[in-house]
Structures are given as structure tokens and as C-alpha cells.
């Protein structure tokens, strides 16, 4: 799974939920082929090269290897204050490695002056799943939610949900009110029945397209009560409209495993009664 090209890895980092699903179950997934030690050491040595192209190539290789033995040299590289391209690449490589030892340096970079760096650092931190550093990671992600840059806030909002930081629910609602639509996704991932009601309170006050991703998360969760799911569907029925019909249709087209008959039938009923768009 880790043998992905660097470019595809970047794309997956940008799409939080899909990436999270792939990563659920912790870092360093099983089945990863062993890294050739000589190649690893050669790449680490190339980090000291005088020309940027060689260093960049070395970072790319280390990201592909995703071996925790590269954490320390990449951290040293970042702490030396490299130029922009190397900074970006090194941060992303640390994310691919997902070694909890890199949390401290990545947290520092979540406070970098350039928003792009902060965003990459948040995305990389989000990939680190280790209970030893969860508190640090959660705090860094919450701080990133307050960032002045909307893209940083967006990735932080998604990452909070990925990390299961339920303590950040109120902060997520505040973020949603302050026009961070990604917060709805994490609310859906983390919230309970009360939070679903609270999110439904935004119907009519916020764009439906911002709220539906949150409802999608609630509906797909196996730990979320069926009655509450039905309640969400009823609230959508009150709104009706082509967007709701399309949302429920797509939901039924790819339902979560174990979706109850009750919820399914209710969704189907609402789809039937909502007229097609003219």
C-alpha cells in the first residue's frame, strides 16, 4: 500500500476522507515490503548533496520508502531551514513516513509564515496515528483551525475528524459558523445525536452543499443510532429539492455496510416523493 508514487500520494493527502479510510488501522500498515537498506542509506547520504536537484530526488525516494529510519535525517534537513522546494518535499515525506518522532518538527512548521507550508505540515501531521503523540497532534490541529488562511483551516478541520478528537466538537461548530465548511465533515465523523441536531439547525441558514457532507458522515456511521439517521432524513425531506434527492440517491447507490432496512426504506421513500428537477 505504501508503494505509491509520490505524485499519487500528494493527491491522496489532499482528499482527507478517502485517505483516512485507507489509513484507518494505524500507521505503518502491514504488508509493506522491506526497504533495501543500501538504497535507504544512499538516499539519506544524498540529502547532504550540494545541489538541490539531488537532494530533492533523495527526499522523493525517502518518501517512497516511508521508512522511519529516514525521520531523523529529514528532520535535520528541515531544522537547517532549507529553501522552499526542499521544505515542501521534506514535510510531505515525513507525512508519508508517519513516524511519531517527526511530530515536533511538523508542529513547528504548522506555524510557518507561508500558508502553503502550514497546510502541508497539517496534512502530514494528520497522517500520524500514535497514542503517544495524539494530544500534541490534536492541539496542533485545533490551533491550525484558527489559521487566517482558509485552506489551512480546511485541512485542519478534516484532520480533526480523521483523528477522532471529539473534544474539538464545539470548536468545529464555531469554525462552521465562521465559514469553514469542511468542519461539517468532521462534525459528522465525531458528533452524536445532539450534534446532528445542532448541525440540522443550520438548515436554511447555510448552503445545503455545506451541510450535506456532515449528514453523509452521520448516515454512514455504524455507531450512529438508526432513529437519529431517520431523523436526519426527515429533516432533509422538509427541505426537499433536487439537491436532497440527488444526495439521498447517491447515498443509496453506495450505502455503508450494514445499513439498516429501516433507514434504507425511509431514504427510498423520500427519494420517491421528491419530484425530479424540472
Amino acid at each position: 500500500m505504501r508503494l505509491l508514487s509520490f505524485g499519487i500520494l500528494i493527491g491522496l493527502l489532499a482528499t482527507g476522507p478517502a485517505l483516512a479510510q485507507g489509513r484507518r488501522g494505524g500507521g505503518g500498515g502491514g504488508g509493506r515490503p522491506a526497504v533495501d537498506r543500501a538504497a535507504l542509506e544512499a538516499a539519506i547520504e544524498e540529502l547532504k548533496a550540494p545541489d538541490m536537484a539531488t537532494v530533492l530526488g533523495a527526499i522523493t525516494k525517502l518518501a517512497e520508502f516511508a521508512d522511519p529510519r529516514a525521520t531523523a535525517p529529514l528532520t535535520r534537513l528541515l531544522r537547517a531551514g532549507p529553501p522552499d522546494e526542499l521544505t515542501h518535499a521534506a514535510i510531505q515525506a515525513l507525512g508519508a513516513i508517519s513516524d511519531p518522532e517527526s511530530v515536533d518538527v511538523l508542529i513547528e512548521y504548522t506555524r510557518h509564515r507561508r500558508p502553503r507550508v502550514r497546510r502541508l505540515a497539517v496534512q502530514s501531521i494528520a497522517q500520524i496515528r500514535d497514542p503517544r503523540v495524539n494530544d500534541k497532534v490534536n492541539e496542533a490541529l485545533r490551533n491550525a483551525l484558527r489559521d487566517s488562511n482558509d485552506r489551512v483551516r480546511g485541512v485542519a478541520a478534516i484532520a480533526i475528524g480523521e483523528h477522532g478528537d471529539r473534544g474539538a466538537i464545539d470548536l468545529l461548530f464555531l469554525a462552521f459558523e465562521r465559514n469553514v465548511p469542511e468542519a461539517a465533515v468532521s462534525i459528522g465523523k465525531l458528533g452524536g445525536v445532539a450534534e446532528a441536531e445542532r448541525l440540522a439547525g443550520f438548515l436554511g441558514r447555510r448552503q445545503l452543499s455545506e451541510i450535506l457532507p456532515g449528514f453523509d458522515e452521520f448516515l454512514r456511521r455504524s455507531d450512529f443510532p438508526d432513529d437519529a439517521k431517520v431523523n436526519i432524513i426527515h429533516k432533509l425531506e422538509e427541505i426537499a429539492g433536487p439537491d436532497v434527492k440527488r444526495f439521498l440517491t447517491n447515498f443509496l447507490a453506495s450505502p455503508p455496510p450494514g445499513l439498516s432496512q429501516k433507514v434504507r426504506e425511509e431514504a427510498q421513500r423520500v427519494v420517491r416523493i421528491i419530484p425530479d428537477a424540472i
Binding site: G81, E108, T110, R113, R114, S148
Partner: protein, 896 residues
């Protein structure tokens, strides 16, 4: 036909021709050939003016209304349904109110009210409003009128085509006794002593004999404009931004030569006139022009040789606010805030009377600014004029006298958008108050979400001039920009500079947090870094190194590396060999930003020059000692320049600096102080100038250029930081000079003061405990507690039973990110103070007149800062020893 008959016909024909030439409108008057106002009349002739003065009545106090009813009256225009009214103030009853169209403000004479209605000027009988007469305006505008016991003198005109008409109309019958029409634009006239004073073209005042219509004197301004003339029992006065008395000196036509008073205030928003503009096109309704102007009343001077003002004050009306200024110093005495727009004001000996839009007549005590009498007129008012001399109802003051700080804040925090220029003006005045809390107030104004950007900019500039309140600036450092909490960090550029000026070393920890905060704007970051270098010590070396390491190759600073340059200077200042090697590595690295490299290399060159200069000086000294003779080069260079030396050099070169400051003052009339911080090389050249206020690139460039031309004395150290402050004060009148005597010169802006008196540094002197070690770089959060709003200030002493009118407290800033569990203290907004209530029955409360605010500290005075510390012992890498004077910081590297 016989010869006599022919003659008779010829005479008759000639008479008819003559009559036709004169016009047939009036049998006993007619349009005069304009001998008056002619171009050939000699102006500014002493003997002519003397004749006029001889005919004027002796000055007298105004003790009674001028109208024939002998009652204090207010005449006005109704708002809503157009019309005119006359209100008897003493009885509190409406004499009459009449519906009619109106196109001008009312003029009260001794027997009538004059208004332009439709195409005529109408005279309405004072007793009952019945029409006495009307004069057709023939398409002209009615600019105003004056009167004496016989006539009413009207001026009409067409502004665009410069046509002016003066009519002398019988006050009772309306017959035109005479009229003059010219191609000059006339303003509202005045009448006294059988003379008619007519301003024209804003340049001249012609004095006509009311019987002969001859022009007997003309005063022409040489260095000013004449926008009004008026006559009172106290005398005849004229002027524009200042006030002249018409007396024997008027022939000079200059401010210097005439009996003249000029208000000392500058930068008053709207640049209002001292009296109503006599040339203003009339309007028949509410007019913003009438809501931004001064109101004064000449005081009675038996000698008739000066211009003094009633209560020794001028009163500025700005929509809903009245501001009292001391006539001599220009200091604000009080600010009165009215709940509604004020439509008219009259200054009387018993106080300041106003009429507001809903039609309330209110008197404000001239010494305290408290309302102490009120009477409803009963109708909405569009405009009004007073004839209430001598009226003095019993006083029943309402409210308590607030401190000047509170009075100013109440206006600054008022959210009426029309008041923005006024609020900006007052925030500069607030900044001049010495109380430390003012610094917090200004920060609160900046932080308030509803503050318009222009007000925030004014707050920034005001903060730059503060010398007190370091503790509030330090407290403000706890606030960081937080998107979710919608908080904004204080203006760090200005705050940093102010902290340096205040030598607030306790601010270092907070400053480090803002250095590390990615939200700190790049343009402010340099000042933050500079403040850390100035206020910090060697314990900040690791912070500087970490920051330079992180960003030395990063594009975040490619456009503006100044902050990095400053930190590099900090390493040179506080560091030793190890830091020198660190900088060597930065220079050697191919990735380091070129501008940073160049800066470090430049510093190295300066070090080398200093070393060579020191060697040369030592060699010369040794030669002189060996020869046992006095060396020709007796001069032993000092280690660094003292603040006195810097001040003396700057003062000696004031002529280079002054034009820049004067140009700045033209753009920013409220400028009160300029702070310059720059680097001096040991060759005596200045560079790297920072200026407060920092928002004017043109000003900074001008000062930089001037500074580059100044040669300072040489010294031994590598370089040093220097600071110089220019205090700009309004010129004090010479001792013993009463207001009204001619000022030293025409109204030129005051010359900036560049004295050499140093300011005694505030803050601790002597060993200072270093701040705690800074956190790592970047992204370290700070722990802090929310700053609760300070309680409203207590009432001033001597005011019994006084409660304060609450100033709306601002919500406390939320904790910066990274502080878990910190909540915000909910703040219930306090409603703005209610409008003044109706006339209370509480009786008077003795009030202590509010003393004018003392001048801000450090005025006049300037700081030239010379800095020097003993160099770090070589090789030890230890921090420099504690310094006796924290200002004495040189930039000296330890010897190799």
C-alpha cells in the same frame, strides 16, 4: 413757437431724458453708477479708516436683546412643514409660526424677521409674523442683511456670474432708498454708526455712508481673506479663520498690523471658519455647513483696542458635539455630547445656548460643559437665530463633570459615521493626555471590530506618540490574531516602537511570541525584531539563531528581509565567536537569501573599518605619547557618541530636517511628535532610518535623504543605534501677551522644535533581569490569561456624589491559540449614555472646573540617544556585564 416755449420744451425733454437715464422705478432713488466698489478707490488709507472709527459708537456690553419687543427671542425655520417661527424664550411661548416656503436662513432685525421666500425677500413683523413688505430678488440669491434704526441693508447676488446688489430698504415701508449693483460679489453686510460695511469678493470691505451711499473707506486684505463682517455692541469685527476688530489699525490690511486674534488650534476637522461665511449660498433647510463651525462672542473691551472672547473660549460645533477651546492656548476645556444634531448656537455671557433638531433650547455652562437649562420650543427646527443678549435663566446642571479622558472617549467611541474625521482628530488629542490608561484606550479603539479603518489608522498614529502606559502595551501583546475568535493582534509595528521608546523590557516575552507568530505582518516584523534587539539581551541569541536558521533561505522574506537583517545585527550585538561563525555559515551558504548575505557582509566591512580606525587611533596616540608632544591629532575618539552629541548634531542641522517635517505637517496637521531611530557608523554616517509615524513613505524618504547629508562626529565603536525625537508644539504666546494682540507673524505652521534637552529614560535603570528563555522556533504557544477590561475611571475629586457615565467596555480578547480550557468572560455591552434628561428639580451640584489637560510628558524635549556597553570579554561567550545606563548600547564586537 416763441423762444421761451422752445426752451421750456428743451428743458422738459432733457429732464425726461435724465429721468429715463436714471430709471423710473423709484422717484427718490435709483441704480447708482458704481462709484462705490470701483477699481479706482484707494484702499487701506489710514485717514479713511480713522474717519470710520470716529463715527463708530463706543464699545458697550450686550446686556439686552436688540429687538423692539425687548424680549429674548429665537427666530427659526420649521423642519418638515416649511415655515418661519419666532419663540419668546423668557415666557417659553411661541409668538407666532407661519407656514411658507423659505430659501434662506432667517435674519432677525429689531422689528422683523427677514427670509427669502420664493423670488422675494420678505419682511415679517416681529410681533405677529404679518408681512411688512417684500423685495423681489430678480433671480438673485439673498446673502443676508444688516439693519439700523432706519434701514435694512440687503445683499443679493449671483455667484457664478459675479453680480452683486446692495439695497438700502426702509425698514418699515420697504421702499428702496438706494441700491448699488456691480460686478463684484457681495457678502452679508453689517451696519453701525450710520455706516454700512460690505464685504466683497472675500478680499475687501467697503464702508459706505448710509445717507450718501458714498464709499468712505475700504480695507483690503493683503495676507488673508475676509469672509464675514458683523457689528455688535462690542464693536465691528471681520475676518475668516481669525477675528479682526475694525479700528484705527485696520488700514494695514495685514494680520500683523491690524488688531487680530487667530485661534491657536490646528488640524481641526473641516477647517471651520470663526463665523458664518457671509458669501455662502443660502439654504432654507438643515445644512451640514452650519454644523461644522466655530461659535464665538467678542467680549466687551472698553478700550476697543483688542480682540477678546467671551469666556476666553471658542466653541466648535460638530454635528452633535460642542467642544470648548481655551482661546489663548487652544487646549480643549470640555466636550459636550448632545443626543441630537444641534442646528444653531449662540454664545452669551451667561453660557452657550443651542437649539437642536427636535426643537429643544438648551444652555451649556461655559466653564464645565454641563447642560444646566432646557426649554422645549415644541417644533422640529431646521435653522435658528438668536436675539437673547442678557438672558440668564437659573442654572440646574445635569450630570457630572467627567475627566477629559472620558469626555474624549465618549466621542471617539460614538459610531455616528458623520463624525469619523472628528473622532480621528480627538484620538490624537486623547493621545496627548498623560494617563497611562489612555494607551489602553487607544488599543481598545484599534481592537474594536466596529472601528472603521480610518479610525484604526488614527489609533496607530496616536499610539506612536505615547510615552506612558507601557503596562497596557505589554498586556496587549497577549492578543494574537485568531480567525475563529475574530480577534486581531495590536498594530505590532507601532506597539514595538512605542515599547522601545518606553524602554519596556518586560515586553520581551510578548514580543518573542509575535516574532514567532506567522500572522504578524511582514511590515511590522522588522519593528518587532528591532524592539527585541533594543530591549533584549544575550538570552535571545538562541531565538535569533533559530529564526534565522528557519528563514534564511525561505521565500517568505525574499521581498523584505529587513527583519532577518535586524536579527543578524542582534547576533553581532550580543553574540561572540560562536555567533560569528553562525553568520559566516549563512554567508557561505548558497541558499541564503542574497539580501541577507549582503547585509551581513556589510556589517563585516563596518567591523573591519572600526578595527582599522581603532588601530590607527591607537597608533597615533602612541606616537604622540612617545614624542612627548601634543599631537596634531589631539582628538581622542570616543567609544560611542553620547545622546548630547547626537542631539547637538541634529540641532545644528535642523534646517535639513525641518522642510520634511513641515511638509508632513501640511499632510497631517495633528502631528505632534516624530521619532527617528537610525544607525550611525563610526565614520559619522547615518543609515537604516526608522520613523514614527511610520505610515508615510514620502516622509521617511525625505528624512532619510536629509539624514544622509548630516555628518556626525566619528567614534571608535563599530556602529551604534541612535534615537532622536522631534516634539511639535503649537507656539505659545509670548509671556504677557493677551489674546487679541498681533501674533509674531502671519499664520504659518509652527516651526518644529529641535531642542537638545534629553529625555530622562523611564523604566528601570541598572541591571535588568533577563527575560525567561524563549520557547523554540517556530510555533510555540504562549500561556497567558485574558485581559479583563479595566473598570471605568473613578469620578474626579471635588465632585460630590458624582457617578461616571459608563464607557462601553470592550469584550476582553480571547486567549491566544494553544491555551487549552481558556474561556472568554462574557461582557454585557453597556448602552451608550442616555441623552440629557429634562429639566431636573435636583438643584445645582457644585462642580470643579476641569483643569486643562497638562501637556504630554517630554514636551518640549528631544532625545538623542547615544549607546555604549563595554565589549564582551573575548572568547567567553558570556552575556555582557550589567550596564549602568540601559541606553548605553553600542554595537561593538569583542576584539578578535
Amino acid at each position: 413757437m416763441t423762444r421761451p416755449t422752445v426752451m421750456a420744451w428743451r428743458v422738459a425733454a432733457a429732464s425726461a431724458t435724465l429721468l429715463a437715464a436714471l430709471g423710473c422705478e423709484e422717484l427718490f432713488g435709483g441704480v447708482m453708477e458704481p462709484a462705490a466698489f470701483g477699481n479706482l478707490f484707494a484702499d487701506n488709507r489710514e485717514e479713511d479708516v480713522a474717519k470710520v472709527v470716529a463715527r463708530l459708537p463706543a464699545p458697550a456690553p450686550a446686556t439686552a436683546p436688540a429687538n423692539r419687543l425687548g424680549r429674548p427671542l429665537v427666530a427659526g425655520l420649521r423642519y418638515g412643514t416649511p415655515g418661519v417661527f419666532v419663540f419668546d424664550v423668557s415666557s417659553g411661548t411661541m409668538l407666532w409660526s407661519k407656514e411658507m416656503s423659505v430659501a434662506s436662513r432667517p435674519v432677525l432685525t429689531d422689528r422683523a424677521v427677514l427670509v427669502q421666500s420664493g423670488t422675494a425677500v420678505v419682511s415679517l413683523r416681529l410681533e405677529d409674523g404679518s408681512e411688512m413688505w417684500k423685495i423681489e430678488t430678480e433671480g438673485m440669491s439673498f446673502f443676508g442683511a444688516a439693519y439700523d434704526e432706519k434701514h435694512v441693508y440687503l445683499t443679493l447676488g449671483v455667484t457664478v456670474s459675479h453680480v452683486g446688489r446692495l439695497l438700502a430698504v426702509n425698514a418699515d415701508s420697504g421702499w428702496t432708498s438706494w441700491k448699488i449693483q456691480t460686478t463684484k460679489l457681495f457678502g452679508r453686510p453689517a451696519a453701525a454708526g450710520g455706516l454700512v460695511f460690505v464685504p466683497w469678493e472675500r478680499q475687501d470691505i467697503s464702508v459706505l455712508d448710509r445717507e450718501t451711499q458714498e464709499e468712505i473707506a475700504r480695507v483690503r486684505s493683503v495676507d488673508d481673506v475676509y469672509n464675514f463682517v458683523f457689528a455688535r455692541p462690542q464693536g465691528v469685527f471681520y475676518g475668516s479663520k481669525g477675528l479682526y476688530r475694525f479700528d484705527a489699525k485696520s488700514f494695514h490690511g495685514t494680520q500683523q498690523g491690524a488688531t487680530y486674534y487667530r485661534p491657536p488650534m490646528q488640524g481641526v476637522p473641516g477647517d471651520p471658519e470663526l463665523w458664518a461665511d457671509a458669501f455662502a449660498e443660502p439654504t432654507g433647510g438643515r445644512n451640514a455647513r452650519e454644523k461644522i463651525r466655530f461659535f464665538v462672542a467678542p467680549a466687551f473691551d472698553p478700550s476697543g483696542q483688542s480682540v477678546t472672547l467671551e469666556h476666553d473660549k471658542l466653541f466648535l460645533l460638530y454635528f452633535r458635539f460642542l467642544v470648548a477651546y481655551d482661546a489663548a492656548s487652544g487646549a480643549i476645556q470640555w466636550v459636550y455630547r448632545h443626543p441630537d444634531d444641534i442646528e444653531a448656537v449662540s454664545v452669551q455671557s451667561s453660557g452657550v445656548f443651542l437649539v437642536d433638531s427636535p426643537g429643544n433650547l438648551v444652555r451649556v455652562a461655559a466653564d464645565t460643559g454641563l447642560p444646566d437649562w432646557r426649554l422645549p420650543i415644541g417644533i422640529d427646527v431646521a435653522a435658528a437665530t438668536f436675539d437673547i443678549a442678557g438672558f440668564s435663566p437659573p442654572a440646574q446642571p445635569v450630570g457630572t463633570v467627567e475627566t477629559m479622558r472620558v469626555q474624549l472617549l465618549q466621542v471617539i467611541l460614538d459610531q455616528d459615521n458623520r463624525l469619523l474625521p472628528f473622532r480621528q482628530y480627538l484620538i490624537a488629542k486623547l493621545a496627548q493626555l498623560p494617563e497611562a490608561e489612555v494607551t489602553r484606550d487607544i488599543l481598545d479603539v484599534y481592537a474594536q471590530r466596529t472601528s472603521p479603518q480610518a479610525l484604526k489608522d488614527a489609533a496607530r498614529a496616536a499610539l506612536a506618540s505615547r510615552a506612558e502606559g507601557a503596562e497596557h502595551l505589554i498586556g496587549a501583546l497577549d492578543t494574537h490574531t485568531d480567525y475563529l475568535m475574530n480577534t486581531q493582534a495590536p498594530p505590532m509595528g507601532v506597539v514595538s516602537q512605542s515599547l522601545v521608546a518606553m524602554q519596556a523590557r518586560a515586553a520581551v516575552t510578548g514580543l518573542v511570541a509575535h516574532l514567532l507568530d506567522p500572522e504578524t505582518p511582514l511590515e511590522d516584523l522588522q519593528e518587532v525584531a528591532q524592539a527585541l534587539v533594543e530591549l533584549g539581551d544575550a538570552s535571545l541569541i538562541s531565538t535569533f539563531e533559530s529564526y534565522l536558521t528557519l528563514y534564511h533561505a525561505d521565500s517568505a522574506f525574499s521581498q523584505n528581509p529587513n527583519a532577518l537583517n535586524v536579527l543578524a545585527d542582534g547576533l553581532l550585538k550580543y553574540g561572540g565567536d560562536e555567533e560569528r561563525r553562525f553568520l559566516d555559515n549563512l554567508v557561505a551558504s548558497t541558499y541564503t537569501l542574497p539580501a541577507l548575505k549582503a547585509h551581513i557582509q556589510k556589517r563585516y566591512d563596518e567591523i573591519e573599518q572600526a578595527r582599522l580606525a581603532a588601530e590607527e587611533a591607537a597608533r597615533l596616540a602612541a606616537e604622540a605619547a612617545a614624542a612627548g608632544t601634543v599631537s596634531a591629532v589631539q582628538e581622542v575618539l570616543p567609544q560611542t557618541l553620547s545622546r548630547e552629541q547626537i542631539g547637538q548634531t541634529m540641532t545644528a542641522n535642523a534646517s535639513l530636517i525641518a522642510p520634511c517635517v513641515q511638509a508632513k505637517m501640511q499632510r497631517s496637521p495633528t502631528l505632534s511628535q516624530v521619532r527617528m531611530v537610525f544607525r550611525l557608523s563610526n565614520a559619522g554616517q547615518a543609515s537604516d532610518l526608522s520613523v514614527l509615524p511610520s505610515d508615510d513613505a514620502e516622509f521617511t524618504a525625505c528624512l532619510s535623504e536629509a539624514l544622509s547629508r548630516i555628518q556626525f562626529p566619528r567614534f571608535l565603536a563599530l556602529s551604534q543605534r541612535a534615537q532622536f525625537t522631534i516634539d511639535i508644539a503649537t507656539p505659545e504666546p509670548p509671556p504677557g501677551t493677551a489674546p487679541g494682540t498681533p501674533p509674531p507673524g502671519p499664520g504659518t505652521p509652527p516651526t518644529p522644535i529641535l531642542p537638545g534637552t534629553p529625555i530622562v529614560p523611564t523604566g528601570p535603570v541598572g541591571p535588568v533581569a533577563p527575560p525567561p528563555p524563549p520557547p523554540g522556533v517556530p510555533g510555540t504557544g504562549t500561556t497567558s490569561v485574558p485581559v479583563a477590561p479595566l473598570p471605568p475611571p473613578p469620578p474626579p475629586p471635588g465632585v460630590p456624589g458624582a457617578g461616571t457615565v459608563p464607557v462601553t467596555p470592550l469584550p476582553p480578547p480571547p486567549p491566544p491559540p494553544g491555551v487549552p480550557g481558556a474561556g472568554t468572560v462574557p461582557v454585557t455591552p453597556v448602552a451608550p449614555p442616555p441623552p440629557p434628561p429634562g429639566v431636573p428639580g435636583a438643584g445645582t451640584v457644585p462642580v470643579t472646573p476641569v483643569a486643562p489637560p497638562p501637556p504630554p510628558p517630554g514636551v518640549p524635549g528631544a532625545t538623542g540617544t547615544g549607546a555604549g556597553t563595554p565589549p564582551t570579554p573575548p572568547g567567553t561567550g558570556t552575556p555582557p556585564p550589567p550596564v549602568a545606563n540601559p541606553d548605553e548600547y553600542p554595537d561593538v564586537l569583542p576584539p578578535e
